[in-house]
């Protein structure tokens, strides 16, 4: 299984990358970690004429933490995220989730940006972006930037809102409000596989233990990762006890349109989504302080 021929460039800066994108446009694909792209090339399911390898673009490899939140350069490896003490401390949801991404060898090369732009609906990071209200900073071939919110970024199956010639620079996660708890759960056929169904959830409670905010993102349940607004609405303004959580979780089927494939049926995914959301909410509420 050998890839078809391509021209190869290895820019060392964002500027250089953008120039290449401007020149080659539709004919080019960005090569980051390669853990998703290279298998497609090997199977000849993708045959780009040009590969732009951004691994040497070190300026996109960073984790910046502040009181306001976390900014991660697109070329930051999953492993860097996994090993980062500041992420573990400030964003335990991210640390917990990144351990589910494939296997150690995949995390050594795979990048945060790559995973987000690949936008596999059964992948972990896109769901995290929704659960944490991420902002995406994108740069176009002329160098000008724009930002996208998480609910704009994932458009359809393996498709984001990036235009041809645009490069993802950075994803930033605002700090969770005080009183927030989190949970991450996934059901997969085997350890490290893409999810059959997964949930990334945050819940915010005020001093009276009333829910003031909730983000419930599901993956593996349709063409893109999706937030269950029905579930969120069923929580906000309530004190989430067992009963409230159960009712809220049952709302999730309104917001997901899972498909059947060889690994699970749609009926399976709906059933498990409901159970998983219930478990995740229970855990998130317990963690909320």
């Amino acid at each position: 299984m050998k890839p078809a021929p391509f021209e190869y460039f290895a820019p060392t800066s964002v500027e250089e990358t953008c120039a290449l994108l401007a020149h080659y446009s539709d004919d080019a694909k960005i090569l980051a970690g390669g853990q998703s792209l290279v298998p497609l090339l090997a199977l000849r399911l993708a045959q780009p004429a040009v590969l732009i390898d951004i691994n040497p673009v070190r300026e996109l490899d960073y984790i910046q933490a502040s009181d306001a939140g976390l900014s991660i350069g697109a070329r930051t490896r999953h492993r860097t995220l996994e090993r980062s003490p500041v992420v573990r401390e400030q964003f335990p949801l991210l640390s917990a989730a990144v351990e589910w991404v494939g296997h150690p060898q995949i995390r050594n090369r795979g990048t945060v940006g790559g995973s987000l732009v690949h936008a596999d609906p059964a992948a972990e990071l896109p769901a995290l972006a929704l659960a944490l209200d991420a902002t995406f900073t994108v740069v176009d071939s002329s160098g000008s930037r724009r930002t996208l919110k998480s609910d704009e970024f994932f458009v359809s199956f393996l498709t984001t809102a990036l235009d041809t010639g645009e490069l993802l620079r950075e994803v930033s996660f605002p700090a969770l409000p005080v009183g927030s708890g989190w949970s991450f759960m996934e059901v997969a056929r085997r350890h490290g596989d893409f999810a059959l169904v997964g949930v990334a959830a945050t819940v915010t409670l005020d001093n009276a233990r009333t829910c003031t905010g909730a983000h419930i993102a599901l993956f593996g349940v349709g063409e893109t990762t999706v937030r269950s607004r029905s579930t969120e609405q069923a929580l906000i303004g309530q004190k989430p006890d067992e009963q409230v959580i159960a009712v809220a979780a049952s709302e999730v089927v309104n917001d997901i349109h899972p498909l059947s494939d060889i690994h699970a049926t749609a009926a399976y995914r709906k059933y498990v989504a409901r159970n998983l959301v219930e478990q995740a909410l229970t855990e998130a509420v317990q963690r909320a302080r």
Partner: protein, 171 residues
Amino acid sequence: MASKKQLIELTVNGVRREGLAEPRKTLADFLRDDLELTGTHLGCEHGVCGACTVMVNGEAVRSCLMFAVQANGQEIITIEGIATGGKLHPVQEAFWECHGMQCGFCTPGFVMSVYAFLTENPDPKEEEIRPALSGNICRCTGYQNIVNAVRLAAEKMREASAAPVPASIME
């Protein structure tokens, strides 16, 4: 139709090597064909089985998912570089003593993954061992003796803390 070959210069098992390859040639194929280091094996060529695992700049990676041109200027360690001075590394010894292989085809990939794992985590908890192995597939052993080998290797490496380390890692 093919694209122009590029010069690749890299360090493999402490030795400076070079070759010419098209950009689409994988690192795995470059190591096997051009550098004639055939210990790294191809089990799937789509990044699942781990038979092609090598170290790139100290990290275990799937060499079938990298292109040789990406390894230009990098430091690679393959299975051929794990034993030093004719002496097996504790990981290799442990696999041998624990009957951790049968057909041997997945073994280089496992040894590299275990080597990387124990270098980072010299005293692993029992529940950390199987997840560390989950990126490599074996069809012969049922994994039992491989898990035993990891435990024994950790013990050996802790005991002989002066265990020889491949030269390039020391820089």
